[in-house]
Symmetry: D2
Subunit: 141 residues, 4 copies
C-alpha cells in the first residue's frame, strides 16, 4: 500500500496544475483515491464560489489515479472523457474529491467521482457538489 | 456588440480561476465566445502536457459565456453539467477554447465546445484536442 | 406507496416503446425505480447481444421515473440529457435497469442508473453492464 | 463506396433492434452515416412523442457505423459510452439520425451525432431534437 501511495504521489507532484491549485493527495487505496482542495479566492468563479473548472480538475485527477491503482504493471492511464454534474454551488472552505473504480477492463476503466464541500462547522455533514463519470484508457509506456 | 463584450468581460475578470490560469477573453459574439490560454508548466499534468483540468476549465467557461450572450435580460447562467472528450495530448504553446450555442431554450441552453492547440509553427493548422457538450441553466438573479 | 406505484405505472404503460421492447416496471420506491427487460432477438445488435439502444431505453426510463417519484405535486419530468457507459457486452436472459435519485433540486434532478445482466444460472451474481448519469428537468403541466 | 454501404448494411440488418424500431440505413459515406426512423405510436413515450430511448438507439447506431466506416481492416467497433442532450420534444413524422466522425484514433474514435425531426410540411426545415457525443472503441475480431 505504501508503494501504491508513493507511485501515485510521485505522479501527482509532477502535475503542475495540482500544485497551482493547491491540491493535495490525501488517500490512496486500491480502486479509490482522494484529493483535498482548500478554497481560495484564486480558484473562484464570478460569485466567489469554487470554479467548476477547479472542481473538475481535482475530481478528474482523483478518478484517473483511482484507475491507475488497478492498472496492470507497465501501464499508465489517460482520461479519454468525463462527464460531470455540478449539482449545487461549490461553497465551502475545503473540498474533497473522491474517485472510485466502477469497472476495470483490460483497455478501459470506468470510474465514478464526487466532490464533497466542507464548511467552517466541523460537525456539519459535507454536501456533495459534483458527480462525475469518466472513461480512462490504459496505455503502455 | 461592445456592450456584450464588456458584460462578459466584467464577469470573466471576476473569475479568480481564469486569472490564476492566465486565460484571456479573446472574442465575444452572440452565441460564440473564445478564450485563449498560453501554455505554462504550472498548468501541466505529469508528462508536461496541458492538464485536462485546465483544458476543461477554459472550454467550460467559453461555453458558459456563449450561453450568457443569448440569455434574456435579468438572467445569468450556471453550468448544470458538461461532458468532454480529451481526444489527443494537449501539446502546444497556446490553446484556444471555443464555446458555441447549439440550442437556446427558455430554461436550458445546450452548447458545444472545442479546444484548439497551436504550436510554435504559426503556419501549421491547429489541432483539436478536446470536444465538449454542455448544459447551461438560465437563472434569474 | 401504492399510489406512487400506480402513478408511475400509468405513465409507464402509456409509453409505446416500453411495450414494444417488452419491458415491465418491477419496483417503485421514493427515489428508486426498477425496470426489467427480458432478452429477445428482436432487441439485439449484430452479435446477438442486447443492443445499446435497448439498454439505454430502459435505464433512461428508470432514471426518469425515479426523478418523478420525488417531483413536487403538479410537476412531471423530462430527461434533459444522459451519459451512459456500456461497460461490457450486454449478454443475459434478463436485464434489470435501476434508476436512483442522487440529488433533487427544485428545477433539476440528477440521477444515476445501472443495468444488471442475469444469466441462466439463478445462483450466479448479475453483472453490471451499463452505468448512467442523467439530468432530469421538472416541468409544470 | 458501394462496398462500404454493403458492409455497413449487412451489420445493420443483423441488428434485431433496428428492425423492431423500423429504422433504415439511408446513407453511408466515409465518416458519416444516416439512419431514418419513421414515427409510430409503438415508439412513443407517455405524451406520444418519440421516446428518448428510440432517439438514442438510432443516433448511437449512426455514430457507431460512422466510426466503422473509418476503422482499419480487421477491426469492428463497439460504443464505449455516449452522452445525449434531448433538446426539445421529439415530435415529427420522420426522424433522421446523423453520426459523424470527429476524431479517429488508433484505438478510440470520437463521434458527434444529431437527430433531425421532419414534420408533415415537406417545405419546412427540420428541427434538431437531439445532440450526441460518443466514444467508440476499435476492437480486433
Amino acid at each position: 500500500m505504501n508503494d501504491l501511495f508513493e507511485r501515485i504521489s510521485t505522479s501527482f507532484h509532477a502535475q503542475g496544475l495540482m500544485q497551482t491549485l493547491g491540491a493535495s493527495l490525501v488517500s490512496v487505496q486500491p480502486g479509490e483515491v482522494q484529493i483535498v482542495l482548500p478554497y481560495q479566492k484564486a480558484l473562484s468563479q464570478q460569485h466567489g464560489f469554487l470554479h467548476a473548472g477547479a472542481v473538475s480538475s481535482v475530481v478528474d485527477s482523483a478518478a484517473g489515479y483511482a484507475a491507475l491503482t488497478v492498472a496492470a504493471e507497465g501501464y499508465e492511464v489517460v482520461t479519454a472523457e468525463f462527464k460531470i454534474n455540478l449539482m449545487r454551488p461549490a461553497i465551502g472552505e475545503r473540498f474533497v474529491a473522491i474517485g472510485k473504480v466502477v469497472n476495470a477492463g483490460k483497455l478501459l476503466t470506468v470510474c465514478s467521482g464526487e466532490v464533497l464541500a466542507y464548511g467552517a462547522d466541523a460537525a456539519a455533514a459535507p454536501k456533495v457538489v459534483a458527480l462525475l463519470q469518466a472513461t480512462i484508457v490504459n496505455v503502455k509506456y
